[in-house]
Symmetry: C2
Subunit: 600 residues, 2 copies
Amino acid sequence: MAEQFINLRNLEFLLYEMFDATQLTKYPYFSDHSKETFDLVISTAMQMGKDMLFPAFSEMDKKPPEFKDGKVYVHPLAAQIMKACGEGGWIGAESSYEYGGQQIPNMLMTAFRGIFAAANYSASVYPFLTTGAAHLITSFGSKELIQTYVPKMFAGLWQGTMALTEPQAGSSLTDITTLAIPTKEGFYKIKGQKIFISSSDYESIENVVHLLLGRIEGAPLGVKGISLFVVPKKRPEKNGGLVTNDVTCMGIYHKLGYRGAPITQLAFGDNDDCRGWLVGEPNKGLSCMFQMMNEARIDVGMGATAIASAAYYASLEYTKQRPQGRPIMAKDPLTPQIPIIEHADIKRMLLFQRAIVEGSLSLIFQCSQYVDLASVTQGEEKERYELLLDLLTPVAKSYPSEMGILSVSQGLQCLGGYGYCDEFPLEQYYRDVRIHSIHEGTTGIQGMDLLGRKVVMKNGKAFLLFIEELKKAIASGQETDECKNCADSLAEAIKILQNTTESLISIARRGETEFFLADATLYLELFGIITIAWQWLLQATRASIALRSVTNKEDENFYSAKIHTCRYFFTYELPKLKGIEETLVKAEGLTLKMRPEWFE
Amino acid sequence: MAEQFINLRNLEFLLYEMFDATQLTKYPYFSDHSKETFDLVISTAMQMGKDMLFPAFSEMDKKPPEFKDGKVYVHPLAAQIMKACGEGGWIGAESSYEYGGQQIPNMLMTAFRGIFAAANYSASVYPFLTTGAAHLITSFGSKELIQTYVPKMFAGLWQGTMALTEPQAGSSLTDITTLAIPTKEGFYKIKGQKIFISSSDYESIENVVHLLLGRIEGAPLGVKGISLFVVPKKRPEKNGGLVTNDVTCMGIYHKLGYRGAPITQLAFGDNDDCRGWLVGEPNKGLSCMFQMMNEARIDVGMGATAIASAAYYASLEYTKQRPQGRPIMAKDPLTPQIPIIEHADIKRMLLFQRAIVEGSLSLIFQCSQYVDLASVTQGEEKERYELLLDLLTPVAKSYPSEMGILSVSQGLQCLGGYGYCDEFPLEQYYRDVRIHSIHEGTTGIQGMDLLGRKVVMKNGKAFLLFIEELKKAIASGQETDECKNCADSLAEAIKILQNTTESLISIARRGETEFFLADATLYLELFGIITIAWQWLLQATRASIALRSVTNKEDENFYSAKIHTCRYFFTYELPKLKGIEETLVKAEGLTLKMRPEWFE
């Protein structure tokens, strides 16, 4: 099995050469840090990834969670990783000193999480889902809630979750019915069911803290009546003890992949004794939850990228070692066979993977940089980062998820029949990566979010800011010989984006909203290709400049590969825009006109 | 679980309205048959599929083959299906009366196999792999070999296999080293190893007959020294008994999917007592084997299509039953939720699946029709069918395999989180369908076959015949109002195909063979899209004409759906050509220029 699952040199390139993480230490909030701290974060993550997570990658898949007598038993690594991340301060690292955190930039924690996810995606979910849940409490919870829950969560003693989905509602959050009945004592009595809740119950952890969406008795219907609650599996008593809180695990799902983490169905309040505590204002729960969901969406994009990265390195290792066939022009069977990495079609499949992995990773770090900059700036500048982040979140979630599936599939294909067998890890990566276009909002939901909300919000302000960013990248790209052609192609792509967007918006202006949004998924695909092209152009431009003053062979290879992979993306992926543009402009609501009875 | 796995009405449309199977009965070879025989074939297959194969679909996956003490144990259905297909005459049905067959047209057997594969792909492999192996013996074997093996195989008593792949050779057949040492007695002593051999050993069958590629001692190196042998697991004695033939199963593979059939590693002659019998001429084995491989390649395309068909119906059933969300313009939470099939994005995912499934199926039947017509015609007409079949075989193998993966993935996506869980069959279809772009020659191999051999053979004669077929379809399409636009688009697509092909051939003419073939996989993709567009135009044209004299609502819906799905294909899939054309014309050997060390 490949020893490499992510490229450290590339992470350093993104952090220090592309997105200049050290620049952040100039801001007071991050001023205690330095490149040394950052390097330590990365090297710690690599060490934990190699020593603790990666060795259990296959075993966690082969020994998935078990549900016996109402209890969930998981692989021992779950408790170990929570303990290690708690003791090392990694769960709360991003949080402010006030809450026991270390004020580490999001960019660094993104690298940390990415390394974990590449080493073992399932295992990485436990600590970082806890991070997201705890951040919700620090952002919107009362002082008492923060004091009661956050230190335990940051310490890795209590698991955090997001409990949104219900059997009858699925993606339609407006139909959430979990009931919260106010009591004189200040807490709410919770009654309802949740499904598909990740890492939401297991015996080897002291407690689980659900950040749950429900509806206060008498609240308005629809999304305007949804509130956010903390609902622990066991409720903390004044004396420090824990009392069962009437949260019952009804079962676990048996999944295609991502088997190291238990996904459960939960019943709250079956015995009328489940207590929840309101987080934030009544009926404002959804907007609070969106903080966590937006973080989680970028994290899902990172998870997909990380799995695709590990699959890339596993397939790369195989293609270097497997001799088969000869160069096209040297068919003499007396000559030795060559490693398959020398065949053009294998190179294409490796380049494809690399273009997806490093393009997606760059976008994820771009988003992290916006998170960090928005947290330390004010006024218009802050708004700019926030708008760009809002616009790009559905793209950073879905492009890596959708393309990650294809990328891992090409990795599997590099191994031929062996890719289909469990002696090699590709088949597991193939199963694992398939979750990401589903959880935290399907690709369809992301498309509606991008076109129906983000592109049009504030009169298209975020969209215009994005075009500005593209134009800046084009201008610098045009200044280097290596990137000029790609920069010109991206300029053409902007026209396609603008034309297509205008064509769709004109439908919206006519009031035909259903038609306007019918192909939002395709629009998301188009937008995603352009976004990744932008990131590739930025990377190749940076690499071209660095190449001029390169001092060693490793760096020369690294930068040359960046430029070549950028060209690959612009030659093999960017042209796909033309077909999507034609479809979007010509489809004329074809899918809407398909009658359900015609499907029989 | 969905009760439907394939659409009977559509099979009838293809057989009787599109490819006019009854017309075949005018030829003496098929003259004993009639539409009644054909209907019986189809209804028998549907019955066996529903009663025998489909009910065990999930169980065969959950209880895969086991390897214990050198023996392979499989699900009881394997023996049952062999027995039932043997007794019913289905294994040899296509063969001539002379060999105990029934002279059933290939088109009908394609329908039969397709129904089986949609009901339970793994189970369908046992009997029909036996068919292919037996056909090789009837085509090239001596009278004695035929008499010894074929009746047992047609009776379902002995399993047939193809034993090509070796550990050190993989796809590179030139490097096959299995040795065949001649003996005075007329047989050969076989020594070697084979890997990835389907259905090649299991305890519940009396015997297994391997059609094996090996090299006679002293034979020329390379593909010109490969011979074909019959090598049984147990060799038949004169007295009718069976004696062990020194074929050892060394292990089975644990696979992502397709788990109902055992795939093994075999050792031949470890104790110097493995006997094989030559089939056909010495050193001509590869061309004999290609008869079986070409049949098998179209069968793989059918297998992929069949799985995608079953996945389509499973996802369709779910989308009709699952209420979630409301129409975009009716967000009032007091109104009831609607079934998700009414959402545009779900309709798009269903239409995509249907376009892939019914487009691919039509191509498979087109190929079968060529098989049948080639078998009953002579001279130039026969050559025409053979050339078209040769040209389209890599397309019929790879388009359904590659697009089947995406089609099933969209089926899975329709179910959201449930698609990822094993309560529904989608996750199994997703795993099962992934084999098809690997076995019987990977997609990369098919691309090289299409561009490097088929397009250029006989000075491009097959290619020109194909263009003629496209033009005929365009001419009829242009005569109906419903299809005129699609016909015009296909005319444009021909130009893209011609331009791209010429651009690539000009590279070959310069002698740059490696560069010429570097993007053969992309060329195959482009060729595939045009081929399926052609089949869709043919289907929609036929449906448009039928719609004029339709007498009932079911038929009206069926034909309307055909026309609408054709439009979907032309609007959502055909435009992809433009991007591929741009890549093929502009890539300039970019993948070749990628240096192996840059991948690190």
